[in-house]
Amino acid sequence: MARITAGIGASHVPLIGRAIDTQDTQSEYWKPLFDGFDFTKKWIAEEQPDVIFLVYNDHATAFSLDMVPTFAIGCAEEFAPADEGFGPRPVPMVEGAPDLAWHVAQSVIQQDFDLAIVNKMDVDHGLTVPLSLMYGQPKKWPVKVIPFAVNVVVYPTPSGRRCYNLGKAIRNAVDSFDEDLNVQIWGTGGMSHQLQGPRAGLINQEWDKRFLDRLADKPEELADIAHVEYIRETGSEGIEMVMWLVMRGALGDNVTELHRHYHVPASNTAVGHIILESQN
């Protein structure tokens, strides 16, 4: 039986990818950020997950205004790193897990979440930067990935509560897959940041830390946070944190926090990182 054993939360700032791709991770600016992922790299090398269910958002890359799916699950055999205007990142192709992805799609839709099923999609920094943070620069990613895109670009994004409940449905779906697989779920994006307008540069460390404090044991409280609070307190792009709630929902009631890291800034953004192990 497949099972979701652990979840990771991590920001996915494009410039982090650039720092990795240009071997700049040990500079004065970047070292404190990357140091916080040393533990994770060792841990994940031991865990050896078979599949990452990677919750992220597309940033006007694969999805323009032609189509704006609220939730989209990638069911393809593989996904190419996208050209976001400077040429694609020099990272390996992302290998999909189509059997599990199609299974999850069917199960989750039957649990009343209407997913868009995507079979052709390039994946942008939202997906590839977290992979680089956890796995560095391998020739081939040592894991299969199911990209799961959440719309956080066009308002309204799905609510935190909806994302949290979706995570629970994803857990049910994975539990009912026959193959013996170690699956992790990652929630990416955030934490506080605003990229637009005269209020750009907003960071709310106190709020972010309270979010991290409650993720393991008080997810219900986090699921109740309204859109407008994310916007007001954490900046217009802080809303990405709803994707962490998909991850948390998929871990079951009891989780243990294994590792945490928080650093300001990466470019315009507060970087948060957490590892939660499912105890169910």
Partner: protein, 129 residues
């Protein structure tokens, strides 16, 4: 009945909701076209001519030519789409962010390194005079 928009009183922030997405549709799709290298080349060669191929409003066109990002946001541009314009110009997100705040890039960077803009005094329009 009108939709509730509780985010309208957040200072210095335009939420890309249905109204804005409707207003900015062509502007954002123009931005999207700059993802293709050949379009970037044509745009850079003659911005007026390239923009005239898109049914954007006169105001939107002028805002693009002026690289007035705050104006583009107010006219329905979304920052992830507008990023295609400043990327075509070889500029970073931090450059654009500084520009939109009216700070020099140096001052903006220094603000970020020292912890970013505080939310205090920046939560409601009424407290941000």
């Amino acid at each position: 009945m009108a939709l509730e928009k509780p985010y309208k009183d957040v200072p210095g922030t335009i939420i890309f909701d249905s109204e804005m997405a409707r207003k900015g549709y062509h502007l954002n799709q123009f931005c999207m076209s700059l993802m293709k290298a050949e379009n970037r080349v044509r745009f850079k060669a003659d911005e007026h001519a390239y923009l005239s191929e898109w049914p954007v409003s006169e105001e939107q066109r002028q805002a693009v030519l002026d690289r007035n990002y705050n104006a583009m946001l107010a006219l329905g541009g979304n920052i992830y789409f507008l990023a295609k314009i400043f990327s075509s110009d070889g500029k970073s997100f931090q450059y654009a962010a500084a520009l939109m705040t009216g700070m020099s890039e140096e001052d903006y960077k220094a603000m970020m390194v020292s912890g970013g803009r505080s939310p205090d005094g920046n939560r409601y329009i009424r407290e941000n005079k």
